[in-house]
């Protein structure tokens, strides 16, 4: 039996096509992936992200605990700020990638991938058992639903949907005063919701976490207030094409327990100078001495079918790696993707080939992100 989010009946009413995504029955598209994708790039889109997990970590030891299990330096956060970070094991490979928010002194809020809630919580439990400081950790995933509202026009109507100043975390006079990566607690109707200026599309936008009831009401209000601005409900299909264009990693594709953040090209979020943390020795060694595989972005240069995950990558007559994400780019109207290759083939302009149903098609390594605004 698939799990359903608080917005399930809203999706059904909109005629969404539903798929199994990590055990959740989620909308893959409402009308068309391309239309939904372009709505987010040009105007606005709203996504159900209630399947994602939430973990709260608090107590006097929370900061030093999180700095020992996450790769980024959590001490850089002031209350009301968040950061992208990764959780690694002792081999330096990735258990999950996540957002960590500091809500107030010694109170942190983690947003983790839906498919990784169980392994993450099991791993964190094992780490807390070894930790001696004052610490309280709770898997709060069941308490929350969430939406992401993304696109260049969202700033024009978000204050109408959720009027008023914040009352906790980052203090601002209105939602739209939040800056990138800031998070504030706001009142919507009688509900408390957490709103961060973050997203997974490469566009400006917000992610909103709250009770099932608050998110159900918010969804309806966004749809009605946002419609004149071009807002459309958008499914996981568009979410995947949007994030692939801007080269955001997706766990299970770019990241897994056989891959390190350095290999995946997210070393910027690994603070080797902050002191000891899980995987540090391996990651420091890779940063100094190099890696055996490297994540690259590519564009097809031959007319071909869209590249897909697991298609072989070839160079100089040899199979050198595998595609991990690939699609037809709705913004660029050509095949794009990401894949792992040996580091000597990772430079932009390197010519590679993608094997599609037994035939080789020319592609070229390009800088990340593949798609840039303007």
């Amino acid at each position: 039996m698939l799990k359903r989010t608080a917005l399930f009946s809203a999706h059904q009413k909109l005629g969404a096509k539903l798929i199994d995504f990590g055990g959740w029955e989620m909308p893959v598209q409402y009308t068309s992936i391309t239309d939904e994708h372009l709505a987010v790039r040009n105007a606005a889109g709203i996504f159900d992200i209630s399947h994602m997990g939430e973990v709260t970590v608090s107590g006097a030891g929370a900061e030093s605990f999180l700095n020992s299990v996450l790769t980024n330096d959590i001490r850089k956060l002031v209350s009301g700020e968040g950061q992208y970070t990764l959780m690694c094991n002792e081999r330096g490979t990735v258990i999950d990638d996540l957002y960590a928010y500091k809500l107030s002194e010694a109170v942190y809020f983690l947003i983790i991938n839906a498919s990784r809630i169980e392994p993450d919580v099991a791993w964190l439990d094992a780490q807390t058992a070894k930790f001696s400081g004052d610490l309280k950790m709770t898997d709060a995933s069941h308490n929350y639903a969430a939406v992401a509202v993304q696109g260049p026009r969202v700033q024009e109507f978000i204050n109408t949907v959720i009027p008023g100043a914040s009352s906790s975390a980052m203090r601002v006079n209105a939602v739209n005063d939040l800056k990138k990566n800031q998070i504030g607690g706001f009142k919507f109707e009688n509900h408390s919701v957490l709103i961060s200026r973050t997203g997974y599309t490469g566009e400006d936008g917000f992610e909103i976490v709250g009770s099932d009831e608050s998110i159900q009401h918010l969804w309806d209000k966004f749809i009605s207030v946002g419609q004149p601005f071009g807002l459309k409900p958008a499914g996981l299909g568009a979410r995947d094409t949007l994030r692939t264009e801007v080269c955001y990693p997706l766990y299970g594709h770019e990241l897994d327990e056989e891959t390190t953040p350095i290999e995946a090209g997210v070393g910027f979020f690994v603070a080797l100078d902050k002191g000891e943390f899980n995987g540090r020795a391996v990651l420091a060694d890779q940063k100094a001495n190099g890696v055996k595989k490297k994540l690259v972005a590519f564009k097809m240069t031959d007319k071909s079918a869209p590249p897909r995950p697991h298609y072989p990558i070839w160079a100089n007559g040899a199979s050198v790696g595998e595609v991990v994400s690939g699609t037809q780019s709705p913004s660029l109207n050509l095949g794009i993707g990401m894949g792992y290759v040996p580091p000597e083939l990772a430079k932009p302009d390197t010519k590679i080939e993608i094997e599609i149903r037994g035939k080789h098609y020319a592609a070229v390594v390009v800088p990340k992100p593949i798609y840039k605004k303007g």
């Binding site: 893959v28 009308t31 068309s32 992936i33 391309t34 299909g237 079918a305 869209p306 037809q328 149903r357």
Partner: protein, 127 residues
């Protein structure tokens, strides 16, 4: 609501067949294109290739996924529609006319009798 022209025969795997003498034209149904949406690529069989009924002989790709197309009948491919290769969106806009895939010379005309009638296909897709 899917369009199901009454002059066509249908395969359970959502291809249609228009018979004319000893040759037939093959494409995918309106229902199939609606399920796929956003068709971005079509790969067709080579002219002259011999295919068996039920054999995968073409591929249609949407943004999300690649799907095999199965020949509803056996025979030799006599023509392919290069217009859908150049403009795959034709399959979305005109699935049972300009969006046809290939023509096939039937090697066993009785296979046509095993295909679904418009009414039976309508039942299959719950229409």
């Amino acid at each position: 609501m899917s369009n199901i022209p009454s002059d066509l025969k249908y395969a359970k795997s959502h291809e249609w067949l228009r018979v004319s003498g000893d040759t037939a034209t093959v494409g995918i149904t309106d229902h199939a294109q609606a399920e796929l949406t956003d068709i971005v690529f079509v790969e067709l069989p080579a002219v002259g290739r011999t295919v068996k009924a039920g054999e995968a002989c073409a591929v249609v790709e949407s943004v999300k996924t690649a799907s095999d197309i199965y020949s509803p009948v056996s025979g030799e491919i006599t023509a392919v529609n290069s217009a859908v290769v150049d403009n795959p969106a034709l399959v979305n806009t005109a699935p049972d006319s300009d969006g046809w895939f290939y023509k096939i010379k039937l090697s066993n005309a009785t296979e046509v009798n095993a295909l679904l009638s418009p009414d039976d296909y309508k039942k299959q897709i719950g229409g």
